[in-house]
């Protein structure tokens, strides 16, 4: 007996196609960001600022998103949540991989002091500014409702961009200072990620935190079993890594701690484990940095918009805060670092917002697609763009 086929749900088909378009655009951009022409383009100072800050990918997202040709929609991005959780886990893992014991012990006390003072002051100022603007915008009187987004603004204020090529001329005469600025940016990224992760975690649920740590340890042991003590081809390494990160991201999403923190802890454990193909895996992950950043900036571009004017006020406050706070801390805390006028000019570099801020804001929007989170994402993007342009203008004048 021939039965009539069920009617095709055109809405579902359309949605599936839209999701496929977003995934394809993200993968295409990721591929383009690691090609030889992209590496060659990044040798030019202005292009270096655009690529290193992820702004070209963000522009692509804006053009393809609701504000441009409407090829990509925020709803389609949200449907890709499992994949973006994996992407966030990848970023967390990448940041955690920095914390190799030999590297951490080599950090001079001067740099620790600078990073810790910057992190504490930035977190305080950013959270207060974020909280004040959010309470004003929403008319809320209750601080607890705005706290997570305010803390997100605080975490986004921590640190600075480590990209210095666009400021060529600032760093050429002071390679030691340039290395310190880059290393400081890396350490601040660690602090920002931890703070941003904690801001979106319910710390009263200690059993979930213990569960996350247990999953991380199990994942690290499995990865060591798969890759330690023998040589594994690149394909095998990536497969083992994807499986492990999926486990960590999935478990973290299920137990409300978010994928960034769990994967960060995993990276920290794995980088201090010996042997086998672990170091090759680290190199593969590190080399994927521009591709992962491009994907998240593209998604940020698509997710922007549809909120009121208050994010512009928050962005203005955050840019103002950076302009006052960052050079002030840089000139006082590591005072002995700036030996001459040439190295002092590099203080302008620390005004620029760290790229992790955009990843943190995208993570917040992906976990809760509400106006406050989307507003903070818009504010973070505006702050990032404005703070990237400012040192370039300064450079033009000096």
């Amino acid at each position: 007996m021939i039965t009539e086929p069920a009617p095709v749900d055109l809405d579902s088909v359309g949605r599936a196609i839209a999701v496929m378009i977003v995934a394809t655009a993200a993968l295409l951009l990721a591929f383009l960001s690691v090609t030889r022409p992209a590496a060659r383009l990044a040798r030019r100072p202005l292009a270096s600022a655009l690529l290193g800050g992820g702004w070209l990918a963000l522009l692509a997202g804006l053009l393809l998103g609701p504000g441009g040709f409407e090829l990509l929609r925020p709803g389609s991005v949200l449907e890709l949540r499992p994949l973006t959780q994996l992407g966030l886990a990848w970023i967390g893992f990448l940041v955690g991989l920095q914390l190799k014991r030999s590297l951490v012990t080599a950090v001079p006390p001067l740099l620790w002091r600078w990073v810790l003072v910057d992190a504490a002051a930035s977190l305080l100022v950013g959270t207060l500014l974020g909280g004040a603007v959010l309470m004003w915008a929403s008319g809320a009187r209750d601080w607890t409702a705005t706290w997570p987004c305010a803390a997100l603004a605080g975490a986004a204020t921590i640190g600075w961009s480590g990209e210095l090529r666009s400021l060529r001329g600032f760093d050429a005469s002071s390679p030691h200072v340039a290395a310190m600025v880059r290393a400081g940016a890396g350490l601040c990224t660690v602090v920002a990620l931890v703070m941003g992760g904690l801001a979106t975690t319910d710390l009263t649920e200690s059993k979930w935190i213990v569960a996350t740590i247990a999953v991380v340890i199990a994942a690290a042991v499995s990865l060591r079993a798969a890759l330690g003590g023998r040589v594994v081809a690149d394909g095998g390494i990536i497969l083992a890594l994807l499986a492990t990160l999926s486990l960590v991201a999935g478990a973290a999403a299920a137990i409300v701690t978010g994928p960034l923190l769990g994967a960060f802890l995993l990276g920290m454990v794995v980088t201090n484990m010996p042997g086998g193909s672990m170091r090759r895996m680290e190199r593969l992950v590190m080399e994927s940095e521009p591709a992962v950043a491009a994907i998240f900036f593209l998604l940020a571009g698509v997710l922007l918009g549809g909120v009121g004017d208050w994010p512009w006020v928050l962005a203005l406050a955050m840019v103002g805060g950076r302009l006052v706070l960052k050079p002030w801390i840089a000139s006082r805390v590591p005072a002995t670092l700036w030996r001459d006028a040439a190295s002092s000019r590099m203080q302008a570099a620390v005004v620029r917002q760290a790229p992790i801020a955009v990843a943190l804001a995208v993570a917040a929007v992906m976990s809760r697609y509400a106006e406050t989170e989307r507003g903070v994402l818009l504010a973070v993007v505006i702050t990032g763009m404005a703070s990237t342009v400012m040192p370039l203008l300064w450079r033009g004048r000096t």
């Binding site: 990044a42 992820g54 030999s102 990209e163 290395a179 040589v231």
Partner: protein, 117 residues
């Protein structure tokens, strides 16, 4: 002129060996292979690949590694050795898994200066 050339020895039976070990894991068996082939004199230089330099100049999320740029695990081995020993070395290297084999070249040597007799 004679004084200047007298300190040089004929290098027709020797080759300049340049090997690049791409990681800590591939450097270790390379040292063993050099010793097994009887090449006991070599200069080892800490080095960085082009991809590492590009990444170091433009870190996005991870900039801490720029503090210790030498810790990449990549090393260049330079040595002047006889063709017999180099052939033996290549046989040892050929037994390594492809991932652990170094990149390398051998170049003809016209004359040698400063190596003990």
């Amino acid at each position: 002129m004679d004084d200047a050339t007298s300190i040089l020895t004929d290098g027709s039976d020797t080759r300049l060996l340049v090997l690049i070990a791409r990681s800590e894991e591939s450097f270790d068996p390379l040292v063993s292979a050099l010793l097994d082939a009887g090449i006991t004199g070599a200069t080892v230089l800490e080095s960085r690949g082009l991809a590492n330099i590009i990444r170091m100049e433009m870190p996005i999320f991870a900039g801490l590694a720029s503090l210790l740029p030498q810790a990449t695990g990549t090393r260049v081995v330079l040595s002047i050795a006889t063709t017999t020993r180099i052939d033996q070395l290549m046989r040892f290297i050929g037994q390594l898994p492809p991932e652990r084999r170094p990149i390398g070249v051998t170049l003809p040597v016209e004359s040698v200066l400063g190596l003990g007799s």
